[in-house]
Amino acid sequence: MKLDSKIPSGPVEKKWDNHRFNLKLVNPANKRKYTIIVVGTGLAGASAAASFGELGYNVLAFSYHESPRRAHSIAAQGGINAPKNYANDGDSIYRLFYDTVKGGDYRAREGNVYRLAQVSNSIIDQCVAQGVPFARDYAGYLDNRSFGGAQVSRTFYARGQTGQQLLLGAYSALCRQIDLGTVKFFPRREMLDVVLVDGQARGIVARNLVNGEIESYDAHAVVLATGGYANVFYLSTNAKASNATAIWRAYKKGAAFANPCYTQIHPTCIPQGGDYQSKLTLMSESLRNDGRIWVPKQKGDKRKPEEIPENERDYYLERLYPSFGNLVPRDVASRRAKEMCDKGFGVGPTSLAVYLDFGAAIKRLGKHVIEEKYGNLFDMYHEITAEDPYKTPMRIYPAVHYTMGGLWVDYNLMSSIPGMYVLGEANFSDHGANRLGASALMQGLADGYFIIPYTIGDYLATAKFPAVTSENPEFKAAKTELDGMVKRLMSINGKKSVEEFHRELGKIMWDNVGMARTKETLTRALQEIPKLREEFWQNVKVVGSANDLNADLERAGRVADFIELGELLARDALHREESCGGHFRVEHQTEDGEAKRNDENFSYVAAWEYAGLEKAPILNKEPLSFEDVKPSQRSYK
């Protein structure tokens, strides 16, 4: 496979402008003759579908939810970055670009990141115009806060519900287009395959989740905006339905999958309570501004935290990182917590947690100040754990939260399948090996509102489109294959539930491909996952009927894909003999235990190409070059 990133030449500030000018345009009168399929209607998908509709294209939008407003983008809390410099604190497009490349541990494309920083200002304007109620100050101006350790205040927010408000904004733009008839929305449809005709993406096959019908839809281009794959770990902060099926099936049809091993682990989540646990709940990392993290000095100390005297507590982050203390970046905080628990210092019923203590802060600032700052988070914690964090320290543990890897795309956001585009978390393009706080919302909307509407036109204006309808043999073949797969899943009638397989996969992934990966654990995972895959296809039990709503059957297909993806993730992690951002290999660390990159050998995007189920995937490399931001070692001492 030949990977052409199509990064325009020229200085980084000029790349996007020059590129936009060079893109071919579709005649306004001809736009309605082009049909674009958008799969997924979260931030990226809804904003893209709405923008296509406004341009005059004929859009078909699909979601497995009943409404676009349910997408998991809605759960983002903190905010969205834009270098407006409203705070007059020296922010600029270049600074956001610099922070993002550095934060991504020098594994992202400079050209893409600069463009992201460039268009992010327009996102704020767009959302304000839509009626998104961003926080305001008393003069009526937009309010900003600093977030995720950034040294400038560039984060715009709408209470703790920024993701919700931005999604509702994009949803409202989509509603308008649905009303105008430019977009047709198909709820409760799950894309199960992308259909290629003469090598071009020309449509999809989707299952109607209400009646089980496998339906075919043809188009001139297909846009996937189906989110990340963190649920490969079973327990993550992702929504229950979040899955990788769309991108995985596209991968199997020829789209390269880039950097699957870059997974972000968030340090401040509520720890697992028991075996029944279905997902993990994230608490804003702002908690670390006032909370102190500690474990008992004595292994297996089962005393109540209040009974452990000060001199028997180990405030390990403050000890290890005297200058950053509890505010070290996400990956560092997460890894250290795991290390403490692995050594036997963990607390709580499962011994898989560390304390986040507000005792000192409450004493220093008073309870009311803490209540004002974190009241809603404390309430949430109380509700879930039945423990009062004003009286006893919170227990926290890291959880998988976001996946930086995804389908490979070029500068136009087109995957290695011509005519198939990938947006938002589903692609790999902008965050490198680690995503900064308040950047996910930014990327999803940048892709959907301000990049894809331009780049897709170039393809539609220049590509040749032989007449295709959903009656073409390629569609029929895809449908037959999927009918067969559904039949097969329903007929195995084994002994284990889909849920159990998913949990087992999650355990293999977390134990071996989680926060601290070694050659040994990764090799083990690569042995265990194929075994699980075999067992799945022999011993899974899917009940109910294929002809009505069947959540068990839906999940069976998703878990089958997760098992395969897990294997690729482990393989990628094994091959990447370095530590960077969300990928930590125990063998590659500095003397102080920090991530140690190997720029000489691994400064590239690993784009995996499917070669068949039993065959090892082919590794393609897209070299990364850094002209503006020179790679350096991150240090938080």
Binding site: R70, A129, G131, Q165, G274, V543
Partner: protein
Amino acid sequence: MNVTLKVWRQKSKNEPGRFVSYAVRNVSPDASFLEMLDVLNVELVKKGEEPIAFDHDCREGICGSCGIVIDGRAHGPGRGAATCELRMRSFREGDTIVAEPWRAAPFPVIKDLIVDRTAMDRIMYAGGYVSAKTGGVPDGNAILIPKPVADEAMDAASCIGCGACVAACPNSSAMLFVGAKVSQLALLPQGKVEAKRRVERMVDQMDKEGFGNCSNNYACEAECPKEISVTHIARLNMEFLKTTVA
């Protein structure tokens, strides 16, 4: 803890439903109500029975997917929380818990506890937006909005579209849902331009969908997981009146 779950089972829209009781054993009081259903469902699958279908997704009270009437209360006992935030410790050992779908003519049951809430989306299609096209908008700070106004708009905008207001209302009225959106956009300068057309069309669509009429008893506010105030319904009424009078 051990409880009995009396749950509505209905194969599809066109088939009649009925209550079925299940004994749920050894569930942790810290488990959520939905996790209790997960545990029960795994048991059912192993016995070869169909699991109970219910809508859910984020499980942190923001996506609005879940919605079950539990013991006669939309989203179950307690205030200001969605079904997914409900913990088993809210019940007592040995309780019989009754779980039913949202019941309203515009929300036909799809299966078991899942209803079709697309009627709410159709109301949104009819005008729940500001017609701002991508690009070509002024700088975010070009539109000043007093903080109290922005805050009140945010209160209204926090609606998660779960439909609990409809489920809790004795008349299956959707006025709180519609009121929240109309009020948010009527408060903000960006939404004022289209205010008249918006409220007319949204109310018209709401009526067409077959929701009942508001009788101002405020059960909606009491059961709203985001505790959205009925003063937004008042604003909707005022906006609607303005379209006819002014």
